[in-house]
Structures are given as C-alpha cells and as structure tokens.
C-alpha cells in the first residue's frame, strides 16, 4: 500500500515539476516578461555611484566645460595618467584647455583630480564600454567640446564685453550720482547759509584736519624708510 502511494506521490511530483517549468514558459512567451537585458540593443543605466574615467562637465550657462588648463589634476594624479595643456584665448579673461587626455589603463579611480579641480569641471563619467583598439589608446576629454569651441569663444567674448560695458555704465552712474549728491549738498549748504545762520565749516577745524593729515603722511614715510633699511640689512629670504 505504501509502495502504491509512493508511486502516485512520485507521479504527482513529476506533474508539479512540469507545471513549474510551463509556468515560466508562459511568463516569457505570453506575458513577455523577460529578465535578461539584450545588451547591445539595450544599454544599461549605470548606478549613481558608478565610477569610470573622468570627464569634463558641460555647464548649462556656457554650453561648454570650464577647464582653464591649470594642470592641478595633472600634478595631483598619483598614476600620471592625465595630461593637460591650456592657452590664452583673445578676448577672454580665463585660459582655455587646448589638450586634455587621460590614459584610463593607468587610472586608479582615486578621484583626487576631481577634488583638485579649481573650477569644478571634472566628474566621473558613466562610460562602461571601455575598449581600446590600439595599445596607446587614451580618452580625449575635449573630443565632445572641440566642435563648439569657436562658438563658445565668440559667445564668451560677447558675454565679457557686455559685462565690461555693464560695469562701466554702473561706474558712470555711480559717479553721476555722487556728483549729483555733492551738488545737492552744496545747494543745501548755500540755502542754509543764505538766511545768515552759522557757517557749516569753521576755519579752525579745517586747519586741524590739515595738520593731522600731514602728520600721518610723515609717519608713513618714516616707516617705509625703516622697512627699506631693514630689508637691505638682512639677506633676502629664499624664493619658496
């Protein structure tokens, strides 16, 4: 009796197994729920914490990077995998990077370059298809920016000119305002003097102020002379 029961239990277990596999079959065929990612056709979204080769950030305001070619990253890199060059561009205050290459084969992903960047224009990229087809393959970080560089320079020049014009205009305005204020003050003073009241400034006070100014100037001159004498006496400290 137990043997017969075992046979039926065994048969039932076979059917249960078949039911499980056909359930998964149905899920993939009918419900089209797939768990595999069709890699070359579907690209994965990398995690926020994913660190790959560094890249230059493209800022929205300028539509370009802000690398000034200061070589801070190149100097701090413990693996010597970054090489940067920068040059002055006519009409722009800051320098611009002319060459930015990194050898990802050497990079240890320490992130020091990102911390060192004075313009905060470096970050980790999310690249994951890091395949080189030659032995000396390097990332050209400026590759995506080169096409926009002329446009950026023109725009930046216009921006800076506008800025300068704005500054000049503001200075002019300030001057004008100051002049107007002086004029108004003078007018007020004249108005106040007219009824025969006491004069605002008295000659004694003016003389005292003049005396004080002269005194200060003399003291400063004396101090400068003392300093010069001291510098001449002691040997010049070594250039650090």
């Amino acid at each position: 009796m137990r043997a017969v029961r075992a046979v039926f239990v065994g048969l039932w277990s076979l059917l249960v197994g078949l039911a499980i596999t056909i359930k998964h079959f149905g899920r993939t065929t009918i419900l089209r729920k797939k768990v595999t990612e069709q890699y070359p056709h579907e690209k994965p979204v990398m995690s926020k914490a994913y660190r790959s080769a560094i890249k230059l950030i493209r800022f929205d305001e300028t539509n370009s990077h802000d690398c000034v070619g200061c070589k801070a990253c190149e100097r701090i890199c413990p693996s010597f995998c970054i090489s940067v060059d920068g040059d002055k561009v006519d009409g722009i205050r800051k320098k611009r990077a002319t060459h930015f290459e990194m050898d990802f084969a050497l990079c240890s992903l320490c992130g020091l370059c990102i911390d060192a960047c004075p313009t905060d224009t470096l970050e980790y990229s999310k690249l994951y298809e890091e395949v080189g087809y030659t032995r000396h393959w390097k990332h050209d970080l400026l590759k995506d920016f080169n096409a926009y560089e002329a446009q950026f320079v023109a725009e930046q020049r216009a921006r800076e000119e506008a800025e300068a014009a704005e500054k000049a205009r503001a200075a002019e305005e300030k001057k004008a305002a100051a002049a107007a204020a002086k004029a108004a003050k003078a007018a007020e003073a004249a108005k106040a003097a007219e009824p025969g009241a006491e004069p605002v400034a008295d000659p004694a006070a003016d003389a005292a102020a003049e005396e004080k100014k002269k005194k200060i100037e003399a003291a400063m001159a004396a101090k400068a002379a003392r300093l010069a004498a001291k510098a001449a006496a002691t040997p010049a400290p070594e250039e650090s």
């Binding site: 197994g17 993939t28 797939k34 768990v35 595999t36």
Partner: protein, 335 residues
C-alpha cells in the same frame, strides 16, 4: 491500397530515389527547426530569450550553425580505428532516413506503405545502436566508449517495453478489424482510429505512457540522457567527432526524436485524422506537440542514475508492459 510515391512512378528505383531525396530534404529542414525549437523552448522555460539575432526570432540561427559545421575541417584523431570511425556517422544516419520514409503523412500520402511498417521502424531504430557502438569503440576514447556502452545497454533494455507497448496496440487493431487488417501496417492503424472515431490513447493509456517513457530513453533524451551525460562523459559516444560527422550524429538524434513522436502519433493519437484541417497538417501538429512535450520534459527533470535507469526498465516497465499486453490479449480474445 493507398497510393505511395514509389507506386506513382513507373520505375521503382527512380521512385525510391525521389523518395529518399524528399525524405532527406524534409528531415534536414525538420532538424533545423527542431534544434531551433529546442533552444527557444529551453530559453523560454529558463526565462531567457534564446537565439534572436539571425533572422526573425533567430530562426536562421540553425542554418548558420549548419553552414559552419559543413565548412569545418574534419579532424581525425590519431590512433582511432579508422574504418569504424569513418563509417559510424553514416551508420547512424542512414537508418534514420529509412525509418522516416515509412510513415503515412495523410490518408493516401506515404512514401512506402508496407505491411511490416512498425517492425521496420524499430528494426532501423535498432540498427542505429550499432553505429553508436562503432563510434564509441572506434574513437579510442574512454568517454566515448563508456557512453557507447551505456547507450547500447540502455537502448537494448528499453526496446523491450517499447515494442511490447506497441504490440498491444497491434493486437487491438487486429482484433477490431476484419481478416485483411494488419496491425503492423502504420497506415491501417491510423485509418482504424479515424474510422472508429477515437484515439487509441484512450483505450491504451498504460501502453501510451510506457511507450512515451521508453521512447525518451530510446532517443537518449533527458531524463534518460545518460549515454551523453555532459557532466560525466563530455559528450558521450560522439566526443571525438567534429564538423559534419558530428552534425550527422546530431541529425540522427533529432530525427530519431521526430520518428518516435511520429510513431506515437500514428499508434496513439490518430495519425492524420482530425477535423477541418488537412490530414498532413494534423499529423505534423500532433507530432510537434509530442516533440514539444519531450523538450519540455528535458528541461524539467534531472538526469537519472544509471542503476536507477536500468532497474526502472527491468523491474517496472517490462513487467507492466507484459501485464498490459496480456490484459489486452485477453480482452481482444474475449470480445
């Protein structure tokens, strides 16, 4: 007597040639499809996609595979038994083609309609085992030899319940028909089910189950794929074969699967009989359904141990099929 291709042409030799060409072409297409189906079904069962790149749904993948196998260099390892090694793939391949030409695809469509059809199918099935052992022995490789020995032991054992279970159907057909009826004739078995209006799986369920289990073992498929158990024997008897010779073994394996499914269709599932659709369509629908179940089983169950396999055959299947045959014979005599 139903028309056959061999009878349609005047010259018997020409008819046989046309028939062989047709069967080989059909079997090749069929094998390509079955390999694709196996890969797709296994992928879907495992929540994967399977081949998707070559052609629609990856259907041309197997054609690419075939072209690769054809164009590969044929490597003959040193120290093999050259005659056996070279003949073995052909010896496995030829009986398959011969056996596949015996089936009634529709009411009057078959290449040859023989009164000993069923016997011939199993005889050709038995011939293939000789080829397998030649391959295993000739390869001069311990894995190949072990695989071949297992294959021979398994196939010889499982042939007994296989044939005994079909024999009960033959007995039944003979009992139900008149004096001219021959239960060994595949076309007559199919038309008998069509005339009576029911499938023999309903009156012979035990025989059908035994047949199906034994057929899985005969075709060396999981859970009875011990002759080529990958984890133990590399690839079993065809370990040393590559290129087109390997393809011939593969071809024979998948065609054998198709042949046992066709036998099951004819004996237990009414052959070409079915409503609305043309007969050949029903025939292939049923056959592919059975093949699908075989694939489904392969990707569900783990492999048996060899002693489990043999004791299951000798202690369960053979007594059960003999019992079934005796009961069938008794009822057939009584009715």
């Amino acid at each position: 007597m139903p028309d056959t291709v061999v009878n349609l042409v005047d010259s018997p030799a020409l008819g046989v040639l046309i028939g062989i060409a047709g069967v080989m072409a059909a079997l090749t297409v069929n094998v390509l499809f079955l390999v694709w189906l196996e890969r797709k079904v296994s992928a879907w069962i495992q929540r994967r996609m399977g081949p998707t790149e070559v052609g629609p749904f990856g259907m041309l993948q197997t054609i690419a595979d075939m072209l690769k196998l054809i164009s590969k260099q044929l490597i003959t390892p040193r120290h093999v038994d050259k005659p056996l090694y070279h003949i073995a793939p052909v010896f496995v391949f030829v009986p398959v083609v011969a056996a596949a030409s015996l089936f009634p695809f529709d009411e009057h469509v078959s290449l040859q309609n023989l009164d000993i059809g069923l016997v011939l199918v199993f005889a050709f099935g038995g011939l293939g085992i000789v080829g397998i052992f030649m391959a295993g022995w000739g390869s001069n490789n311990k894995y190949a030899l072990l695989g071949a020995m297992r294959a021979v032991a398994q196939n010889i054992s499982y042939e007994i319940p296989l044939i005994l279970s079909t024999l009960s159907v033959v007995l039944m057909v003979n009992a139900m028909g008149d004096a001219n009826t021959n239960g060994m004739n595949l076309a007559q078995v199919a038309s008998m089910q069509h005339d009576k209006g029911f499938w023999f799986v309903l009156v012979q369920p035990v025989a059908a189950v035994i047949y199906f289990i034994a057929a899985l073992a005969e075709t060396n498929r999981a859970p009875f794929d011990i002759p080529e158990a990958e984890s133990e024997l590399v690839a079993g008897f065809h370990t040393e074969y590559s290129g087109m010779r390997f393809a011939l073994f593969f071809f024979a394996e998948y065609s054998n699967m198709f042949i046992v499914a066709m036998v099951a269709t004819v004996l237990f599932f009414g052959g070409w009989s079915g409503p609305l659709l043309p007969g050949a369509m029903w025939f292939f629908l049923k056959t592919y359904a059975i093949v699908f179940v075989m694939i489904w089983i392969r990707w569900t169950f783990p492999r048996l141990r060899f002693d489990q396999l043999m004791s299951f055959c000798w202690l369960v299947l053979i007594p059960l099929s003999i019992l079934n045959l005796l009961v069938t014979a008794f009822i057939a005599r009584a009715v």
